[in-house]
């Protein structure tokens, strides 16, 4: 049945009415408080550069007239107490104004030593601020440094990547220079145009975030400034963004999962199925309010952290996958206990997927597999191309769409209200879409986003291993993931008696599955657009399909035909086993995986 927007909206309206009616006031208040706390912590973390857990932990006895009083007062961990106060951690004695040096004494304890360190840092920061306020910046900062981060696999950081000349006579670098410290230094020097274009990361595509002000400190330091100010970047931004954007999703999917499972408990949803609505109307109508909440929360948080429409557009597909995975989980779960397991799994898996790659936001194109990297770049004010956006979010949209389609397939009386085992429901969810042999090809093609996501996650996880071991491990992952993806639809078809269990049918289905998978796999060519193929792991994962191999026409054609042959042959092997039941399928699947692995290893070794 087709989708009727009018009916869909009616279901959505009543879902809102029903859901708000079922929420008692106490729960609503607690939920609102929890949400506000989450937002408050996130916003506080962003605006203040972190939560001040170390406020006033060291007491410094210093006279209000002392020049040291101001640095102490401005420091978060230090608390200024009157000179001579007992039990202070640091005592500053500068009672003699004629003496330029003060006497600083500390308790001979570990806390005293730590307090002295904090005191020194506070004074250094204070002095630095005074220097920054000087009109003659060249005098204040005779040496300036500009950091420029480059891609690790293709370049090495050199001394000539960016300069800021003393005196600011020529404060520009070849691949982008900072405009904060360096630029100011140049202008302050002798009037030369020291301003650069973009920030330190602009030249490398994925640069160091430069939010400026308080938000800038989230990213672990400034790209330009005096040597004292330079510190390596820390992926705290990814953590904060993952927390800020993804934690509210957990509230949404809890409510959403409950409403879906509620339809299945005691057959409540049976009457909606009898009403003149399509299954898609019902599911879309019930999902719409929760997608709306997720979108609203995402927008509010994006605004709070200083992001724009790009941040919202980057995070929304994550929200859709949250909802889609929860929907399928709620359709498969047999109790609220199982649903809890589902929502926790969804939350942990997606948060990991979004967060871990984003750690490398400043390092490698691998980071782009997480849409949070787009958020980081949006916060930096960097441009994001359409291809990069599609690369980053496309798998999310496709995964969400496929999961919803799978869930809608089993949103019917025969599956909703039975206590069948989850694997059987999964097979049913696949089999409902199998009406003709060619549907197997479509199913294999639709598995590509999942394969893509699994392999990208494999790259991200194996990224830290030594290159040789990582590539072999990744080839194993690729063989397993792809053979299962091609075979599970065929197995579901045989298991649910959609096809005759004979050899000709198995060979036909295997060929169709392999061909469908091969065609869709070509879509992975998008990895070339963002430069992932330049990485050894990227080549291992996606280069074996013949994409962008850089070989001649004959070799290129062979590399195009060989993967097709590989997929068809291995899928057919698996299909033959699938006709004879689960154990036989598992056995033939192992054979298919071994062949696949051998092929990939040969190609990778040959291509070097």
């Amino acid at each position: 049945m087709s989708v009727s927007p009018r009916k869909l909206l009616r279901v959505a309206r009543w879902e809102v009415s029903r859901a708000t009616g079922s929420l008692d006031r106490r729960t609503a208040v607690l939920g609102a408080v929890a949400l506000l706390l989450t937002l408050g912590v996130a916003a506080g973390g962003v605006l203040a550069g972190g939560v001040a857990l170390d406020e006033d932990i060291y007491a410094v006895a210093v006279s209000p007239d002392s020049p040291y009083h101001e640095p102490v007062s401005d420091s978060t961990p230090l608390e200024a107490v009157p000179a001579g106060a007992p039990n202070a951690d640091v005592y500053v004695d500068d009672r003699d104004p004629s003496d330029r040096e003060a006497t600083v004494s500390v308790a001979n304890t570990r806390k005293g030593q730590a307090a002295l360190g904090a005191f020194r840092s506070a004074v250094e920061r204070h002095n630095n601020r005074l220097l920054l306020a000087e009109e003659n910046q060249s005098a204040a900062f005779p040496v300036g440094v500009t950091l420029s981060y480059v891609e690790r696999a293709t370049q090495r950081v050199g001394a000539n990547d960016g300069t800021a000349g003393a005196g600011g006579d020529d404060a520009t670098g070849d691949d982008g220079t900072g405009d904060a410290g360096g630029g100011d230094a140049g202008e302050a020097g002798d009037g030369a145009d020291g301003s650069g274009t973009g920030d330190g990361g602009a030249g490398s595509g994925l640069g160091v975030p430069d939010l400026g002000g308080a938000a800038g400190s989230l990213f672990g330091g400034q790209p330009t400034g005096s040597p004292a100010e330079i510190s390596p970047p820390f992926p705290f931004s990814s953590l904060v963004l993952a927390f800020a954007f993804l934690v509210p999703m957990n509230f949404v999917i809890q409510a959403y999962g409950s409403t879906i499972l509620n339809e299945r408990i005691n057959r409540r949803g049976e009457l909606l199925l009898v009403a003149p609505l399509s299954r898609t109307d019902i599911v879309a109508g019930k999902t719409l309010p929760y997608a709306g909440i997720a979108l609203a929360a995402t927008t509010i948080i994006a605004v709070a952290v200083g992001g724009g429409p790009l941040s919202v557009a980057a995070v929304f597909p994550i929200a859709l996958v949250f909802l889609a995975a929860t929907f399928v989980g709620a359709m498969f779960a047999r109790s609220f206990k199982e649903l809890t397991f589902v929502t926790v799994t969804v939350s942990v898996a997606l948060t990991t997927y979004a967060f871990v790659p984003a750690i490398f936001a400043t390092v490698t194109p691998v980071a782009l597999i997480s849409p949070l990297t787009l958020v980081v770049r949006d916060l930096q004010g960097e441009a994001v191309s359409i291809a990069e956006y599609l690369f980053s979010t496309g798998p999310f949209y496709l995964v969400a769409g496929t999961l919803f389609a799978m869930g809608v397939g089993v949103y019917r009386e025969e599956d909703m209200f039975t206590q069948r085992a989850v694997p059987l429901k999964f097979l049913d969810a696949l089999a409902v879409h199998l009406h003709r042999p060619r549907d197997v090809a479509l199913l294999a093609a639709l598995s590509i986003p999942f394969v893509f996501v699994a392999e990208l996650l494999g790259i991200a996880v194996l990224f830290a291993l030594p290159e040789g071991a990582a590539i072999v491990a990744l080839l194993v992952v690729v063989a397993v993931v792809e053979e299962v993806a091609k075979g599970v639809g065929v197995y579901a078809g045989f298991h649910q008696s959609r096809f005759e269990r004979d050899l000709p049918t198995a060979l036909k289905l295997g060929a169709l599955s392999g061909a469908g998978f091969f065609v869709a796999e070509k879509a992975t060519a998008v990895v070339q657009v963002v430069g992932l193929g330049s990485l050894p792991l990227g080549q291992a994962a996606f280069g074996t399909s013949g994409v962008g191999s850089g070989l001649g026409p004959a070799a290129g054609l062979a590399l195009l035909a060989l993967p097709l042959a590989l997929h068809v042959v291995t899928a057919a092997i698996g299909a033959v086993g699938a006709t004879r039941g689960r154990r036989a399928w598992a056995g033939t699947l192992l054979v298919a995986m071994a062949i696949h692995f051998g092929y990939d290893l040969t190609v990778v070794s040959t291509l070097g």
Binding site: R18, R268, A275
Partner: protein
């Protein structure tokens, strides 16, 4: 109004319904009876469009079951009353009226009429807080908000007390009198006998008997005659100052009359006993109806036959 032609439904290796065929006329109350697992609920759900048949054709008002037009003209009452318990009766009914595209004015009017007819109280109380009988009435009202031509009721009196049960059955009868076609399943065969115009008996996915209750009784049941005479005849037993013979055909009755006359006596009374639907079910299905129970006046649980309150006229006047 309803046509079922060769309906077959298979779940994996289990055949739930195998080749059912029957028709239901407009304005008729049609009963589907059978034990658990007989396939009656599967049949009803297929008609409601909830389940796709493996084979065969199922049509409601000329359209395939499950089509949007068919659903609009259909009211379905499942065996349980799965309501949204956070809603009130009114809001629940309005929700479904909305889904069926019923204009608001009409919906409000229909809802109030249905609630009045069903004598439903507590219309603005949360459905989770009302009794099971009330919930069942709300479920019945919901099946009527779209003013359907066809009602499919699966065990409409399931779990209700006798008073509410009688009320619901009478209401179903009134609906049929008002022109609705009702397909009705029940475990309690007395309900079926008292309400249904025609019946099919299902067992293990097959229809094993069909027709009016009388037709089924004539085909699958048996009629026994207790013939009271003033004199003993061959095979009779004393019954007070009379003698009684039990036979199963009118020819035998005639033989007793002649024998009594030859002995100088006469037949003074003939009483007829017919098989109940439950007995017929036992005969054709070979198992008792789960949950079935006699409710006719004067009957006991151990009595498996129904005694008519008034003996029918004998086929031939007693001499």
């Amino acid at each position: 109004m309803i046509t079922v032609d060769g309906l077959r439904k298979v779940y994996g290796d289990f055949v739930a319904v195998q080749g059912s065929t029957f028709d239901v006329e407009p304005g008729e109350i049609f009963g589907v009876v059978g034990p658990n697992g007989a396939g009656k609920t599967t049949t009803l759900k297929t008609l409601a469009g909830l389940i796709e048949p493996t084979a065969g054709a199922v049509r409601v008002a000329g359209e395939p079951a499950g089509d949007p037009e068919t659903r609009t003209a259909l009211g379905f009452l499942p065996e349980e009353s799965p309501l949204y318990e956070d809603m009130t009766a009114r809001s629940y009914l309005r929700f479904f009226a909305d889904l069926y595209d019923v204009p608001r004015e009409t919906a409000n009017q229909r809802i109030e009429t249905a609630l009045d007819d069903l004598e439903l109280e507590h219309r603005d109380r949360r459905l989770g807080d009302v009794s099971k009988g009330m919930k069942r009435k709300v479920a019945i009202a919901r099946s009527l908000v779209n003013d359907p031509d066809v009602l499919i009721y699966d065990e409409p009196a399931s779990g209700l007390d006798p008073l509410t049960t009688n009320y619901v059955l009478e209401y179903v009868r009134e609906l049929a009198d008002a022109g609705k076609t009702v397909l009705f399943s029940a475990h309690n065969l007395y309900h079926v006998e008292s309400v249904c115009d025609r019946v099919v008996i299902m067992n293990e996915g097959e229809i094993v008997a069909r027709g009016t209750v009388e037709e089924i009784r004539a085909e699958h049941g048996e009629t026994t005659y207790r013939v009271f005479t003033t004199v003993p005849v061959d095979g009779s037993e004393p019954d007070g100052d009379r003698h009684v013979s039990t036979v199963d055909s009118m020819d035998a009755v005639e033989g007793i009359r002649e024998a009594a006359a030859d002995a100088g006596g006469e037949v003074v009374d003939i009483r007829t006993r017919e098989s109940t639907l439950e007995e017929i079910f036992l005969d054709v299905a070979g198992q008792p109806m789960p949950g079935s129970r006699r409710v006719s006046p004067g009957a006991t649980d151990g009595d498996r036959r129904r005694e008519p309150s008034e003996p029918p006229e004998p086929p031939e006047a007693a001499e």
